[in-house]
């Protein structure tokens, strides 16, 4: 029992550090994508720190809630935020180990994000306006279709490395050296489509719209104001950063620190930032060169991703 306490303490402090770091950097990623999109549209775009200014403004405001809403409406953003924070501790970022990797691997990560989504969707039905119900219905539909594709894509890469635990996965890949297998490309393409679907970006959903016919995620969170909205936006940004970090971990974990030396950590930080930035550019280009799909075309896109994941599994293992 005694030697476990410093271990537990160390894991806890690393978890807090990682969660704080990802929470701090998530708004920067969101604004960077917005700015790159704007530049592609020949506009200036917001200043890079706009995400932080928005969060600070919203956190200072008075919370305004509907008369018909109950405690579920208040709990929704809090559980969504809590789930995002808990998920940050399960993913290896700089070091080839996640702070709470003993707590769970890929399956727990997917379950955590599902918990957040369930809480938000349920709370959306609480105000009695049709927008919330519509957004919740559409979001749960897309999530239901995206989940098998997400699972298969994750399995394709995890089974190749022999473990479902993200820390062990990254460590085994780093140990055996990064080998390129054609199935990786297919699995990456499939998972990239799912990341676009789960983070609510064009072509699945438009994060900048509030038109009734076109919003999915935004409809779910339409009724939130003040601190509640700040929590939802912050958690969404963290989810985006988490998904991109997950892609980095699964497909290009080069440069992750395998020891606690400061030099290794700095190199890992630069490598991670660079890779996430490259993926952000990929997201920006996808958003800028595609039109938003009709809702009933999204299943076709998701089935493409499912097919790619299947192919990846088939090529690798059959």
């Amino acid at each position: 029992m005694a030697p476990m306490i410093p271990d537990a303490l160390r894991a806890f402090s690393l978890a807090v550090l990682q969660a704080a770091g990802l929470l701090a950097l998530a708004p920067l990623l969101k604004t960077a994508i917005k700015k790159m999109k704007a530049r592609l549209q020949n506009r200036q775009g917001p200043p890079l720190l706009q995400g932080y200014y928005d969060l600070a403004k919203l956190l200072r405001k008075e919370p305004v809630r509907s008369e018909t809403a109950s405690w579920v409406f208040v709990a929704g953003p809090r559980v969504y935020f809590g789930a995002a924070v808990a998920a940050t501790t399960l993913v290896p970022v700089l070091v080839a180990a996640a702070p709470l990797e003993g707590a769970g691997g890929i399956l727990l990560l997917v379950g955590t994000l599902a918990l957040g989504r369930f809480a938000l969707a349920t709370a959306a039905l609480d105000t009695g306006s049709a927008f919330g119900g519509m957004g919740a219905s559409r979001d749960m539909t897309i999530a239901a279709l995206a989940e098998p594709a997400l699972m298969l894509g994750l399995f394709a890469s995890a089974l190749a490395a022999g473990s479902l635990n993200l820390g062990s996965l990254v460590r085994s890949v780093l140990q055996h050296g990064i080998t390129f297998h054609p199935s990786d490309l297919l699995a990456f393409a499939g998972l990239f489509i799912i990341v676009i679907a789960e983070t609510g970006r064009i072509p699945v959903d438009n994060p900048a719209t509030h038109l009734e016919l076109t919003m999915i995620h935004e409809a779910m969170v339409l009724e939130y104001a003040g601190p509640d909205l700040a929590l939802v936006e912050w958690a969404s940004a963290v989810k985006e950063l988490l998904y991109l970090t997950l892609l980095v971990d699964l497909f290009m974990p080069v440069g992750m620190a395998t020891s606690a030396r400061p030099v290794a950590i700095v190199v890992a930080l630069l490598a991670w930032a660079g890779k996430v930035f490259l993926l952000a550019i990929a997201v920006t280009i996808t958003e800028s060169t595609n039109a938003k799909l009709r809702l009933f075309r999204v299943p076709e896109l998701v089935s493409i991703s499912l097919g790619l994941a299947f192919l990846a599994l088939a090529i690798r293992f059959l």
Partner: protein
């Protein structure tokens, strides 16, 4: 010969368990029974069929063949997906829960099938994981389904109707029932750290761990397919319960019955509280359950837990720590810390929340402008229309001129595929044969006497011919 026995026993026990296509009695029986009996039926009686399948089909006929395992996985996957798809379209609360029982029986059979496939190959560790996952889900389903049925019973009792479209705003009027129903809904959707997640995690382990060591390509591919089906089922179940809980308990009441609802008495709330607590406990301490399951599974042949599998009360690592390891309690602690962080961040505003009416786009917000359960599941109905084959009838009744309708009637229906295309022809065939045989019962005493005499003569001839 063993195959015939397996087939017959599987069909027999399958009718009891409610697998597709033998499930047609379930959605009729569960809503008709009183609530406590529905809870027992769904939680316990269905498992009698599962017990039969485990005892006889999996272990009672010797080492199972690979084809048996594949059949069980296929039937399980079909039941799970079709069960949840049909549940999504139900607007009778108890029928919805009955279809979810079919789905969960499918999940139980998925785990059992993976175990049987492993037994056929002689892989005792994988077989242990599969059967243990199956039994863990049996326990969990009994707990959360019982909880959901009891909650549904409360709601049905105070409102007098089972239709979800008539509910709404019940959380304000029945806070405890709502809370316990929410816990049950989160458990059945497989959300961590509740018990549904723990048993589904173990079922995923059975599939993915099985993938690694299998030889034949077709069998090997069945494992990730099973995993994908399980993921689809879980996600659809979550969508269905967002609908069931959200439309029933949240926002404004959609009918007088819902507006007049009141909380159930404490004697009805106490068992729900106990079951909800069990949901949480069984989810947070999976190791304890696995230890008990280990004792249960010890006498069964061919099962061997992995030597380095971990179940120290808090965590599970069925395939060995390097493969995957989960400790729901640590996750729950992280979640609670995350939510506590919110308290720090959101406290800076210093304002108390202001309550205002919801914006109704300039009109008045009422029960008519709320989202309905039918609308909530419509996108899924359109996407899966190959399964549902929905039909729709719209009539507008006009008095003076068709341009000014007095009433618009909308009727939408999904096709009851099994009832219409499997059971009705079967029933008709049986009735035809019975009608044909009616000729023999002519009603005439002379005819009956003639039959008796013919039978006696024939018997005497036989006895004489024998001797």
């Amino acid at each position: 010969m063993r195959d015939v026995l397996f087939g017959l026993f599987f069909i027999g026990f399958g009718v009891k368990a409610g697998i597709i296509p033998l499930h047609v009695w379930l959605p009729e029986a569960h809503p008709a029974a009183p609530t406590s009996i529905s809870a027992l039926m769904s939680g316990v009686l269905l498992k009698a069929g599962i017990y039969g399948i485990v005892r006889v089909c999996a272990f009672g006929l010797g080492v199972p063949r690979l084809s048996w395992g594949v059949i069980v996985v296929a039937v399980g996957g079909l039941s799970a997906v079709l069960g949840v798809l049909y549940a999504l379209m139900q607007h009778d609360l108890k029928r919805l829960l009955a279809y979810h029982s079919i789905e969960n029986i499918g999940i139980i059979l998925l785990g059992l099938g993976a175990g049987m496939m492993a037994l056929a190959y002689g892989r005792s560790e994988l077989a242990w994981i599969g059967v243990a996952a199956s039994l863990y889900h049996v326990l969990n389903h009994a707990v959360f389904k019982g909880l959901l049925f009891l909650g549904a019973g409360d709601v049905v009792m105070t409102t007098g109707t089972r239709q979800i479209e008539q509910f709404g705003g019940l959380l304000r009027r029945m806070p405890w029932t709502g809370l316990f129903f929410l816990v049950g809904a989160m458990a059945i959707s497989g959300l961590p750290p509740l018990n549904g997640f723990a048993s589904e995690w173990l079922t995923f382990q059975a599939f993915l761990y099985g993938f690694r060591g299998s030889a034949e390509p077709l069998v090997r591919f069945l494992f990730p397919v099973g995993g994908a089906l399980l993921a689809l089922t879980t996600a659809l179940a979550a969508a269905c319960f967002v609908k069931a809980f959200g439309i029933s308990f949240l926002a404004l009441p959609r009918s007088q019955a819902a507006a007049g609802a009141h909380e159930a008495p404490a004697v009805m709330l106490a068992p729900q509280a106990l079951l909800a607590a069990l949901c949480v406990v069984l989810g947070l301490f999976p190791g304890v359950v696995l230890r008990v399951l280990g004792r249960v599974l010890r006498p069964l042949p061919g099962l061997q837990p992995r030597a380095d599998a971990v179940w120290d009360g808090l965590g599970m690592a069925a395939g060995g720590g390097a493969f995957d390891h989960v400790v729901p309690l640590v996750f729950a602690a992280a979640l609670v810390c995350g939510i506590a962080l919110v308290g720090v961040l959101a406290a800076r505003s210093g304002f108390a929340a202001r309550r205002v009416p919801t914006w109704g786009c300039g009109g008045e917000l009422s029960a008519q402008t709320e989202y309905t359960a039918t609308a909530f599941s419509k996108p899924l109905m359109m996407i899966f229309r190959a399964v549902y084959r929905p039909t729709r009838q719209v009539e507008s009744l006009a008095d003076v001129s068709p341009y000014f309708p007095q009433e618009v009637r909308y009727h939408a229906e999904i096709e009851p595929t099994f009832e219409r295309y499997v059971y009705r022809p079967l029933l008709r065939a049986v009735m035809r044969v019975a009608n044909g045989l009616k000729v023999v019962q002519a009603g005439s005493l002379h005819a009956y006497l003639a039959y008796v005499i013919a039978m006696v003569v024939w018997l005497m001839l036989r006895v004489w011919w024998r001797s």
